[in-house]
Symmetry: C2
Subunit: 731 residues, 2 copies
């Protein structure tokens, strides 16, 4: 592949991006697409009138808007996770700008003049002339080694300050939150021991009021949910009610708020029935039925943050499978269906999903190797002889080489995130953010393995695995294979990278759904029920993959860097726009994606160094090899230092921070209000739409079924603003 | 090597053991050796008179005594660690008895008749006839597969119940301790931030009385110690005192107990000086000097166990390098010199020791391969031609083959534990038990690598490492190499195993020291200053290595099993005797060695299965290979289950347990007494011998330098029995 072919490929992509972005700038101005492109803003109706002409002229206003938005605004709108994601892009832009400058000055000339040969005109020069493959054996390679040093040092410095910055932001975000976070006061208890004499409710109460007497406030059981369970319950209880109604009158009491706004109407009534049953103390059949619906899990609320954290962290009893405590996720972050999974199953589920993900990764190789085969024109001609004529056209062959294989790969890759998300759900994560983070890890491993390694060691499954079975030869193998595949990765950045951004901003799937709904179903409601949350589990791995490709290829084939830089710059604008306009932030993950990004960046650096070691070895440059080893060790030490210095902050909140917050709230006298709202916050059977209903029924509430003893009842605060707002869901 | 040679080797060893054990039974009755063989009992002087004739007749009373001692007595005398060690031996005896029975019935006939050949008389039969090497390729091997299944199932069942048992024992031991453990109330804080305005003492006080106001009791700084530091301080302060005494009178106040019983007299006075300096509030030169001596570390005492645990577990501030908290070790377990290491150094130290241990492991190969070379007679004859004549004698050649190489290896191995102990000390462990545990891990890895793998893959360092670089071929490589080396391992059990027990019970080194002292130095004091604590870091790895050899070789070369069983049985008696009589238990590690034993046993099982897989593959028995894979997966699942079920109990004490203990002590009104004794418990400058001095000066104590505010002073309890006794140091 020569420079011209690469530029052709780049041209196609730039054109495509330009068309799509223009189309986007028009489509976004159509009022009918508001729920596609302004999902987040729909709550505060945009009433700005746009005149007809302006509506159909492409305009770059969104770019300006995305560029001008400050980090604080992003934090307000998208929460910590959005900020962390934007920091990843900033880090990438910075480090690859440095890398591009260094490589243009040092590496590119060294590669180009690396071998005595007659150079063609640059447009017709093969791309390999610009890679390290063009350097003669026995050269000094000091330029490459120096570039590697500068890139590593720059990356480590930037990583250090970014980690520090993100850790600080996280802290400020926790301390400075306008509304107190109910999850700080709550823990999730699983594995409550079953007793034939007491309900789970009483067991929890007894345990916590004995062992955490001073700090225990109240608790809230988790009930079995899910469609099947609901229908079963409905049928069963309806039968009982009919039977009972002959003997005595049934008086459903609207006793607990959390059940009054269920999505199904029948369930609403029946849940109340369950509650009223729970409220009685006698041992009737009904009581036992009521207990059946309780899971061995509960949210326990504490009087202050420190006590909650302490209860969450320690082993409660000497059997680690009972009374398992975790910090509760934010109310909107709770993944209710997983809470009822018996705790004893979880370790098996975890192992099963690891095995399943691994198998999926390996089976996936089959379509990928097929797609890989398509890059070789001669193979294609042999397979489909009727294509020979078309493929001999210069333009077509360039398209096929430069574009088609990666496009096929991208299509296949679309199926991966949902599968990984499913695995992460089966794994038993208690929070949505935890599920997404786990899926993010899986997709990341998957992507790096299937995009990078499989392409580098092209061939059958077995031959790829056998490469990994001989560890000592790995650097040499990589040194041979990676530069040869650098061209492919460059086209991959062009096709997959740029195109993915265009697709992201166009929101093709929601757009088609919207069109379908509007013109086929003819329904015209603007409801933003379908407003999506940011798909971190697909976008974080994608950005990290490009970073990985960048580090791995930078000194081997520096031509990848300008394309990569363009990608990151575009990504910065696009994703900021999406965070501002499209995606709704329902919960806050607290910046947990940064450690993933940090680890991947360090892994990429070390990987690049190992490849460089192999290459320097192949080119018989012992001095350069010798200088790479201390760099490798230094990077490892840097990584360990960052782990020691910053990682604990992401795992735990410091005592000092929590106690300061507790004392502040106590001084302000806000504690009572906070206590009052804990129950409503963790409301299992209220969807977002029914939340208002949930609040309105507060008025009817005469008694709580399970009133917290040491809490003033009746002082219910119905002010909507005082309810637990989903953190940072701004207007 | 044939059966006769093996039996000759066994004969030598049995004879040697018999002689040494008889010698032991005589020596132990000599009153002059009491401090060698009854180090632990010396406190309660044995006044039993033994008449002269009886003194010189070997007697098996010690065997009876060791056999009859119950587990509770061992627990009383040796603490949890001794019990855990004895459980390891019991587990080994049980599992290898089962293995021996199964292998004799199933495997041995299958091996012996595995190939059509004319059998010689059994004594002249080569040992290889009894190994799996004698089985023809293409055989069914169901006997071996079944034996593997039975051994694995038996081992897993026993491991499960042992783990459960040990976890329970640990719990009972914690709850049922007669004297409350001060370490439950104390935490160790390191990384106290330096401030130019306050002393560390005030910083700690301010921090904990603000953030842990309700539970904070008092604290105790750690001071710089070590000989160099002491001499420096002495000189410096002596100079100041001389200078000052011209101007004003120096009035040393005997203020803090912890400094009154220092080992050096000069230091005692000066430490008091430091204290009196600390007591003042003005900012004089002296004050700054006094502060210099404080480390950035302190013991902080809490009012109850739960609060202490909670403070120890959580991150204190948002900088994880500051205010680092850990649960305090037991007073006698504290490794004072390591407490002053700046916390920031620790991660570097850890990495450095890991690297150093790894390097040591690899460099050690050189003498081992030399020793290994000695097993081959022809090589020896070539090297030392003058030995040819001697080596042609049948007896001598048997000795050389069967005994000499392993004896050399054992001698070299003697140097390993001290080196590993040094590494573990440098690592920065805060407790002696932690240091020993860490050394135990290092010695274990070292032993398994250098005794097993190096012998299996005999050759140069490089060729051994290259075996590990190709992972997929490892089972096949092992399958070829392990059965060939099984004979060597059998002789290793005979020589190293049995001899090590004989040496252990003879206590050769202390015995010679004693003789030297008595007959050369002519000093006749019976002081037991030198009474040793149990060397778990050498004995645990040894026992586990033999278990590892047993599992690996059981179905390949079952002849190893009787010798191994004899070893374990002897070890059971010998070590129990040593625990009862020789070793002093100064602190209790809380049974932390069991997880090591469990992990090693599971690793051994998995390793045996991998080898079996390789062997079945080599013998072309696909059915047996197929059946081994589910066994392997089952074992891995079992391991994971045990980790989930039992391991957390070894890491943390459960909230329930701690709060129950707190409530019990509060009910009994014992808390005040406990508080009073916390300071004296963590007394940095008192060695065991000066403890009495430390207590007697309590009377003189007029005021405490740092009186805990909320504690009644003056109610000092001088009753020696009420002082913190080293847990389970029975009379």
């Amino acid at each position: 592949m020569d420079i011209a072919a690469l530029l052709a490929s780049a041209g196609i992509n730039v054109l495509l991006c330009a068309v799509l972005f223009s189309l986007y700038s028009i489509l976004r101005k159509q009022p009918s697409n508001a729920n596609v492109y302004f999902g987040r803003r729909l709550a505060s109706r945009r009433d700005k009138h746009v005149d007809l002409l302006e509506r159909f002229v492409p305009s770059p206003t969104w770019v300006m808007k995305a560029w001008e938005t400050t980090q604080d605004e992003i934090l307000d709108i998208g929460g910590m996770d959005a900020v962390v994601f934007s920091r990843m892009l900033v880090f990438s832009i910075r480090v690859f700008t440095i890398a591009a400058v260094i490589c243009t000055i040092l590496v590119l000339p060294a590669n180009y003049y690396g071998r005595d040969r007659i150079h063609k005109d640059i447009p017709f020069e093969s791309l390999e002339v610009f890679t390290i493959e063009n350097v003669q054996e026995g050269s000094r390679l000091w330029a490459h080694c120096l570039a590697l040093y500068i890139i590593t040092l720059a990356a480590c410095t930037l990583l250090y300050f970014e980690f520090k910055n993100v850790a600080n932001l996280r802290l400020v975000h926790i301390i400075g939150a306008s509304a107190p976070n109910p999850s700080h006061f709550a823990i999730l208890v699983r594995g409550i021991p079953w007793s034939s004499e007491e309900s789970y409710y009483d067991t929890v109460k007894k345990f916590f009021s004995y062992y955490h007497a001073s700090a225990y406030l109240s608790h809230q059981m988790v009930y079995k949910s899910g469609t099947v369970q609901k229908m079963k319950d409905d049928a069963e209880l309806m039968y009982k009610m009919l039977g009972d109604s002959l003997g005595k009158t049934c008086k459903p009491s609207f006793s607990q708020c959390c059940f009054c706004g269920g999505p199904t109407n029948s369930f609403k009534k029946i849940s109340n029935e369950i509650d009223s049953i729970n409220g009685r103390t006698g041992y009737t059949d009904r009581h036992i039925d009521g207990r059946k619906k309780e899971c061995a899990a509960a949210f326990v609320f504490f009087k202050n943050r420190y006590a909650a954290l302490m209860a969450a962290q320690n082993l409660q009893t000497s059997n680690p499978m009972l009374w398992v405590t975790d910090l509760a996720p934010e109310p909107n972050d709770v993944y209710w269906t997983n809470l009822c999974i018996p705790y004893r199953q979880l370790w098996v589920r975890k192992i099963a999903t690891v095995v399943a993900s691994g198998t999926f990764m390996l089976v996936f190789l089959i379509p990928v190797t097929f797609a890989q085969g398509l890059t070789q024109l001669d193979k294609l001609e042999k397979m489909f002889p009727f294509l020979t004529e078309i493929l001999q056209m210069k333009f077509m062959s360039e398209v096929v080489i430069g574009y088609l294989p990666s496009a096929i790969l991208v299509l296949f890759l679309c199926a991966v995130p949902p599968v990984m998300m499913l695995f992460s759900a089966v794994e038993g994560s208690i929070s949505r953010s935890g599920r997404k983070k786990s899926a993010c890890y899986k997709v990341l491993y998957f992507t790096i393995w299937n995009v990078f390694f499989v392409n580098v060691f092209a061939g059958s499954v077995i031959s790829q695995l056998s490469v990994f079975s001989s560890i000592t030869e790995l650097p040499a193998q990589l040194a041979k294979a990676v530069p040869a595949q650098a061209t492919y990765f460059t086209t991959y950045v062009l096709s997959s990278g740029w195109a993915s951004l265009a697709c992201e901003i166009m929101q093709l799937f929601p757009l088609f759904c919207n069109l379908f709904q509007r013109f086929v179903l003819r329904s015209g409601d603007d409801s933003n029920d379908g407003a999506l949350s940011f798909p971190y589990h697909t976008e974080v791995p994608r950005v990290l993959l490009f970073g990985f490709l960048g580090f791995s290829c930078s000194i081997l084939a520096p031509l990848i860097l300008p394309f990569l830089l363009f990608y990151f710059f575009l990504a910065y604008l696009v994703y900021r726009n999406q965070i501002l306009n499209v995606y709704v932030t329902r919960y806050d993950g607290g910046g947990q994606y940064w450690p993933i990004a940090h680890n991947t960046a360090v892994f990429s650096l070390i990987f690049a160094q190992v490849i460089a070691l192999g290459v320097f070895g192949l080119k018989q440059s012992t001095v350069a090899s010798g200088f790479t080893i201390p760099l490798l060790l230094g990077t490892l030490l840097f990584h360990q230092y960052c782990r020691e210095r910053f990682l604990p902050v992401f795992r735990n909140t410091a005592t000092q921070v929590l106690i300061d917050m507790d004392k502040r709230d106590e001084r302000c006298g806000r504690m009572k209000d906070i206590y009052n709202q804990l129950h409503t916050a963790y409301c299992q059977f209220s969807s977002d739409s029914s939340k208002s209903e949930c609040f309105s029924c507060h008025h009817k509430e005469s008694t709580r079924v399970h009133p917290p003893e040491d809490l003033e009842t009746g002082k219910e605060n119905n002010n909507k603003d005082m309810s637990w707002p989903p953190v940072h869901r701004s207007s």
